[in-house]
Amino acid sequence: MINEQERLQEERNEKNPCSRIASHRYFTAIQGGLVPNTVSMQEVQRVLDVGCSEGGWVLDLARKYPRIHITGIDADEHIVNEATRYARFHGMSNVAFLYHDATTSLPFKTRTFDFIHARSARFLYMPQRAEALTELLRTLRPGGWLNLVEFEQSATSSLAFDRVIRLFLQMVQSAYPSSVGIATRLYELLLNEYLLDVSYTVHAVDFGSYNTLGAKAFLDEVFLALRNVKPIVCCKNALASATYDALLEEAAEDLQRPDACCFGYLLSATGRKDG
């Protein structure tokens, strides 16, 4: 059993907004911007971000386009409150954050948004994915854009990191079977919804040897997630807690070597609602 105090500490760590914002910006830089270049921002007034987390994407978009209104929703109440506090403190009036689970019906009128964005959104892993997508598209105006973004880990020079990631993915697979390989299926998901102009882009995420601050922030988050799932992974695989810790430590050491190599993919799929 995981120690209660340790769990609380980890929860606080998990909500460390600095590393999350750094890692959001890392992905944004890799994608070449906040918005896919197939989206024409002149035609966008209202934006929805699904699974907005601490609001990094929402706030950056709001700063870049002060005239548009952006709503972020997330199924984590604490994080939504934090994001709201932050926006209020900085006097940003064109953003709103809402505590809401995207697998349930949305509190927005039909055809509200011109652009809906979801990066690493949890609803995509859920069995209710198809219903959630239909509900999202209800709130999108005809001609509006939907952009889904997912990360997928690929190869690494660290055997320990490879192993621990595999354990993690096995666990995710048993918890959310429909999440497996979701990154390369975003394109298909959008085509299945009969969206127009569906396209996707593939980006390399290079985070070997902590080569940039963004890569470091992202890896910090990955390791945090790996630590958080320790009780489940150890229990499922009859693995001693100390063995898992040692594996994590070895992985972290491997990846700090100057000759370390590690990469994944970021896939971004965009389509337009028929109208």
């Binding site: 055997l159 490879d162 390369t184 996707y200 593939v202 980006h203």
Partner: protein, 273 residues
């Protein structure tokens, strides 16, 4: 038989360099290169383009397959590339060239060309024929996640077969190639300025046919790969036939999405002290 292989290697070359956009790594100006060795050159697609683009470079291509060397010579002749020679070798552990003969050694798909057991000796030999301050360049391709379950299954079989026949450095790693280990090998072999760059490649259907053609060309050789998989005991003949047939259907579907990563690794040979 080897013509099918040549064709698939040509597709591979086209796909790689469409992505890279240049024959040499960005950091190395071709003007400073005068003697190039292409190890495991296949049908010579890369080297012939180098010879055409940079007539001042003396190009040497070697491969273990006489049939590919024959095709490479024919292609060079047809493209009027005169500064290029191709030679068939018995193995790469002993190269028929003097010390410090080349400025640049290029190896495309090193994981396919050279097995892990042979690497230490081959790398020592490359280092001998490379002049001090000359560069080594590995270009490998790791197929990434795809939306085709059959293709993902095929890659898993391939990995299992590679583990059984010891064609991968470690059975623990999930990678099909050794691309990510080359920076370490080069550092351990004393190379300086070792660096890698990644290029994500869209090999799905939306980006035109290059990626799909590549997969199909690889599968066109499915008898060879299929035999390899069956003989290494990871899969039955019926199963591999079923998987290959499904891949053929999957890759031509409109919804097919696939990724891959070009891994380019460079290192500079330093003077021995």
């Amino acid at each position: 038989m080897a013509t099918g292989e040549a064709e698939s290697l040509r597709f591979q070359h086209r796909l790689f360099f469409r992505e890279l956009g240049a024959l040499f790594p960005d950091t190395l100006p071709p003007e400073a290169i005068s003697r190039v060795l292409d190890l495991s050159c296949g049908p010579g697609s890369w080297l012939i383009e180098v010879a055409q683009a940079y007539p001042h470079i003396c190009c040497v291509g070697v491969d273990l397959k006489p049939e590919l060397i024959r095709i490479a010579r024919e292609d060079a002749h047809l493209s009027h590339a005169t500064s290029v020679v191709f030679e068939g070798l018995q193995h790469y552990e002993q190269l028929p060239y003097g010390a410090n003969s080349f400025d640049f050694v290029h190896i495309q798909r090193p994981s396919a060309a050279i097995t892990p057991q042979k690497w230490p000796r081959v790398l020592r030999e490359i280092t001998r024929v490379l002049r001090p301050d000359g560069w080594i360049h590995f270009l490998d391709f790791e197929l990434g996640p795809t939306s085709s379950v059959a293709l993902n299954t095929f890659m898993r079989y391939l990995h299992e077969a590679h583990v059984k026949t010891q064609r991968v450095f470690s059975s623990e790693s999930t990678a099909l190639t050794s691309a990510l280990l080359f920076p370490r090998f080069l550092k351990e072999a004393g190379y300086a300025e070792v660096a890698y760059t990644l290029h994500a490649v869209d090999v799905g259907n939306q980006s035109g046919s290059a990626g799909k053609d590549y997969i199909l060309a690889v599968l066109a050789e499915d008898k060879r790969i299929g035999t390899y998989l069956v003989e290494s005991g990871v899969v039955s003949q019926e199963e591999i036939e079923r998987v290959v047939m499904t891949i053929r259907q999957d890759v031509v579907r409109l919804k097919y999405c696939a990724t891959g990563m070009l891994v380019s690794v460079v290192g500079r040979k330093v003077e021995e002290r």
